[in-house]
């Protein structure tokens, strides 16, 4: 009888925390290595938010008749009507664009990771490996976070120089605190997003569309309080809107749409633990459903 090799996987053995950490580290380094082959991409991510901020600044100045002072006055009048009056429309736009880019990048990178693995035919192989999904996802999301933070910091510095604004003038420490507190919720949303791409596959179109829905919901160029009540409350329930508003209110010294600072902190804490849990659960459910239906190999 010919010898036969049968794989029994790990059997009763389970990978320890070192092995799990190694998976996270390996995925993280692999992704970083890939992106460092395309350095111009990183430069692009620095310039893009500055361009996004430049457009409404130029547009606004044009509408106000070419006068910056008039533009600032008009913007103050508009934002003051909803209780967030500020004349510093340049910093307002720059912050909005940068936060938008941060959120957008985290979604893009997770969505594209799933899509790329599908297209190159490695997603199925990845699912057959004995590594837990949470560890692979942790590696990918850590990479997206590093890349997004790099883009955020450099774009903020470049934008501040180009537009002549000082982001350190407001309560910078509070803004950074809100920023860090907002990250776990973004992780959670990216799990939702990854699951969505895995399910409907048309990653490019979905990401591009959701990106603009996001821009709308976050109020990158104007406060969401200008929307009708239903749209406004829906937008305000979205964690990136909370993060954006919290950072703006601390850096521009304007009241938050959500109320006092402790309300903002409370809401952010709530989002920080609930959204990742919900996101991961959604990802697992979608994954199970796909495996039961057609399998993850199809694209």
């Amino acid at each position: 009888m010919a010898p036969e090799t049968v794989s029994h996987g790990f059997g009763l053995g389970r990978p320890g925390w070192r092995a799990s950490l190694d998976i996270v580290r390996t995925v993280f380094i692999a992704r970083l290595k890939i992106i460092f082959r395309y350095r111009l991409s990183i430069l692009g991510e620095t310039v893009m938010p500055v361009v996004f901020a430049a457009m409404p600044i130029l547009l606004g100045t044009a509408i106000a008749g070419g006068s910056e002072q008039q533009a600032a006055d008009n913007f103050f009048r508009y934002t003051n009507a909803v209780g967030q009056g500020t004349t510093d429309f340049r910093l307002y736009m720059l912050l909005g664009s940068n936060t938008f880019m941060l959120v957008s990048l985290m979604l893009w990178l997770i969505g594209y990771w799933v899509r790329r693995e599908q297209e190159t035919g490695t997603l199925e192989a990845l699912y057959l490996s004995p590594a837990k999904r949470i560890h692979i996802l942790a590696g990918v999301t850590s990479y997206t976070l590093v890349r997004a933070l790099l883009a955020f910091t450099t774009a903020m510095a470049l934008g501040s120089i180009l537009f002549g604004v000082n982001p350190l003038a407001g309560n910078f420490a509070a803004a950074m605190g809100y920023f860090l507190l907002g990250i776990p919720a973004l992780w959670g949303i990216s799990f939702f997003f990854g699951a969505l791409v895995m399910r409907i596959k048309e990653a490019n179109a979905v990401i591009q569309l959701l990106q603009w829905v996001l821009a709308f919901a976050m109020g990158i160029y104007f406060p969401v309080s200008v929307f009708p009540a239903i749209v406004r409350y829906t937008a305000m329930a979205f964690p990136p809107t909370l993060m954006n508003d919290a950072m703006r209110s601390s850096l521009l010294s304007i009241p938050s749409l959500y109320g006092e600072w402790y309300v903002v902190v409370g809401l952010m804490f709530m989002a920080a633990w609930s959204v990742p849990l919900l996101g991961y659960e959604f990802f697992l459910r979608t994954e199970r459903r796909i495996k039961r239906d057609q399998g993850v190999g199809q694209f």
Partner: protein
Amino acid sequence: MPQYLETFLAMSKKVLVEYSRYPIAFVALFVQIFLIIVLFVITSFAFETPGTGQAQTTRFAAMMAYGFVTNIILSFTLWEIGFSIREEQVRGTLESLYLSPTNKFSNLLSRVFAILLWTAAISIGGLLLVSGLVGGLPVNNLGKALFVLLMTTTGFLGFGFIFAGITIRLKETAQILVNGVQFFFMIFSAQVFPFSVLPLAVQDYVSRWLPVSYCVDLFRTTLIGEAPELLPNDVLVEYAIVIAFGIVSPIIGYFYYNWIDRKARTEGTLGEY
């Protein structure tokens, strides 16, 4: 039927079949354009001086909306050609496609044909939306404006061919470059605002040197029915620049693409990604 036409039809059919497999993508594209337009319209309300006359609001909206039409044509041309080449690279079908005896020009053109038809529909829908929001957009000299738009589109095809070549060479990074170029023209060719907003130095040393600026300027001022911003006293010169751009750009683009293609074959890098 000539081979180039047969290739064009077959490839266009393939692109349409592919699109039909992803209907959400098509709808998403449509909705996305509307969202961008509404986003900018709401932003413009935030800067409006109280008591601004209806005529001024309409003129500004027209400048923005007509300029935006040229922007989406440029954007889709660059993205569709460059991105589809990239997709073929990633899937590993680019090399086999290039080893087949199909006509290269038809191959490239077919990648953008379907999306341009869709862009036309999106543009009309977007203009109707803005028109509804601001109480009507001015429409003058429609024939002339469409001719300018046709020349603009063929000129953009040249950019698309260049980007197809760049994608073969730069691979992943080309997408970022596409984004960069798209936003470069959006700002320096004043695609969503009048040129008068740009600092004089930018107008003189950057905008006036870009043929795309003249395309944007001539298209929207023709429709609005006023003198162009860049060369108000030399409309014919603007026409000459736009026509030259529409004819020369695809020729240069195609030659560049062929050169890159030959180079990649010689170096054996066509299959790499």
